[in-house]
């Protein structure tokens, strides 16, 4: 294998020490919060100095940072009159509890989901032949990173002043392997067990812009899960709005009363 001269060389292979550890007893069921209760969030918009728009979300241990660049000119293919949205979602190499994964594994699939979820909210026809780029980075993944990234990216787009119909809010949900209980905003250990769902919502318009679930969903559990996710989105919405207002106030100070 030819060496990669662009990086400092390390060993070819390495293994996580967790593989050799005595497995700790995982606590069964969640403690400290109810099934429909999301973790505490911290949201801040407009914190990066150079990006057109930016946002940071911390939900439990999950930390996501997002920057928006553009609109900048893009060649444009054929007769496409709308602008285009580019989404890149990466996990930092140290962001997961398990093994180290080299060179900020960019997940193509997650980027595509992010793009589909955001596209419905943007007025891309107002940016003909231009490109908007969203760069999201998961610094720490303690579960529900994708929904957090969607909310964060949407907030960053709003902070950048991109024309949009509504903010997009993401929510995650999981269901244990045996227990039928649905759990909103799962952490990483809850995410591993059984079925998971991800949903993104435009809360003011009540439109679902993204949906993905896997695992087994018997009978009407999927409908109940969708409803629960939507409630989770609605709960997060005012928090995002407030931080957006705060960021805008910071950017544009209130007019001083004219003296004299």
């Amino acid at each position: 294998m030819p060496g990669d001269s662009r990086r400092v060389r390390g060993p070819e292979e390495s293994q996580s020490p967790l593989l050799y550890a005595v497995p700790a007893q995982l606590p069964v069921g969640r403690t400290g919060r109810g099934a429909g209760e999301p973790r505490a969030v911290f949201v801040r918009a407009g914190l990066l100095s150079h990006a057109a728009g930016s946002a940071y979300i911390e939900a439990g241990g999950t930390k996501v940072l997002c920057a928006v660049s553009g609109p900048r000119e893009w060649g444009g293919a054929g007769g496409e009159r709308r602008g285009r949205l580019l989404c890149d979602l990466r996990w930092a190499p140290f962001s997961r509890a398990g093994a180290w994964s080299s060179s900020a594994a960019s997940s193509r699939q997650a980027g595509l989901l992010l793009q589909e979820s955001l596209e419905a909210s943007l007025r891309l026809e107002r940016y003909p032949r231009a490109e908007l780029a969203v760069w999201a980075l998961v610094l720490e993944d303690r579960g529900s990173a994708l929904p957090a990234a969607v909310s964060c990216a949407s907030l960053a787009l709003a902070d950048a002043g991109v024309e949009m119909y509504d903010l997009v809010v993401g929510a995650g949900l999981s269901r244990g392997a045996e227990g039928e209980e649905l759990r909103l905003d799962p952490d990483d250990s809850e995410e591993e067990a059984g079925a998971t769902m991800y949903l993104s919502l435009l809360p003011a318009l009540n439109q679902v812009s993204g949906l993905l679930c896997s695992g087994e969903w018997e009978g009407d559990t999927s409908v109940a899960a969708v409803r629960m996710c939507m409630e989770g989105c609605q709960r997060l919405y005012p928090v995002l709005q407030q931080s957006l207002v705060k960021a805008t106030k910071r950017k544009i100070p209130a007019p001083q009363p004219q003296s004299g």
């Binding site: 050799y20 930390k63 980075l137």
Partner: protein, 276 residues
Amino acid sequence: MAAGFKTVEPLEYYRKFLKQNCRPDGRELSEFRTTTINVGSITTADGSALVKLGNCTVMCGIKAEFTNPPIDAPNKGYIVPNVDLTPLCSSRFRPGPPGEEAQVASQFIADVIDNSQIIQKEDLCIAKGKLAWVLHCDLICLDYDGNLLDACVIALVAALRNVRLPSVQISEDTGLAQVQLSSKSPLNILKSPVSTSFAVFDDTYIIVDPTDEEETLATGLLSIVTDEDGKLCTMRKPGGSALSPERLQDCISRAVSRHKEVQTLLDEVLLSVKTQ
């Protein structure tokens, strides 16, 4: 008016300030931006630190893993730094494999580690010729605003001092490693190097801790890495304006005094984490 002047004649704009011994952001020539250090915020990493120099933000996360020791040095482990400059931190960077600046920064950090002997690589060996630690040190720039190298070195040292490794025994029956997550110990940090960067304007003015704007306008750059004994570890001066030995000596003295500032701050931050 000033904003227009700045856009049209950025260099002239700067000269006006430098003549008065100050900078557009209000700093003196030898004044650093506010330095903030946050340690251990990433719990998925074995050690982590977030460092801010004004707007310039660098996050360092260290993950320790098992590997085979290198064949030519069976009693050593690895420490692998990698600096990542993504489009997130500045629109000048493109996605994909590391660009020129990221490669230079990675190599600089690797040199600092080697030259300053932060830790002895022998300490990372668990069983000679069989098992060793590899420390993956990933430095990700979150907001790019000049003086990347200083921020990276502080972040690296802070994160290394934050690392806690689980104890490992080699089982005699199976020859496999047994990891005890309940007992963790810090690394043996021998030195803590600190980098101090300067920018030269018009071959005359020397300023410390340049911002992104200052770096692009400067005629020369200089980075000096010193350790706590005031010894030089690494020096980097990629071309540009020539400097007289006297002026270089001035820079080194500033670097030595900067080391003390950073060291005090680091000790304070790490102590506050411990007492929590």
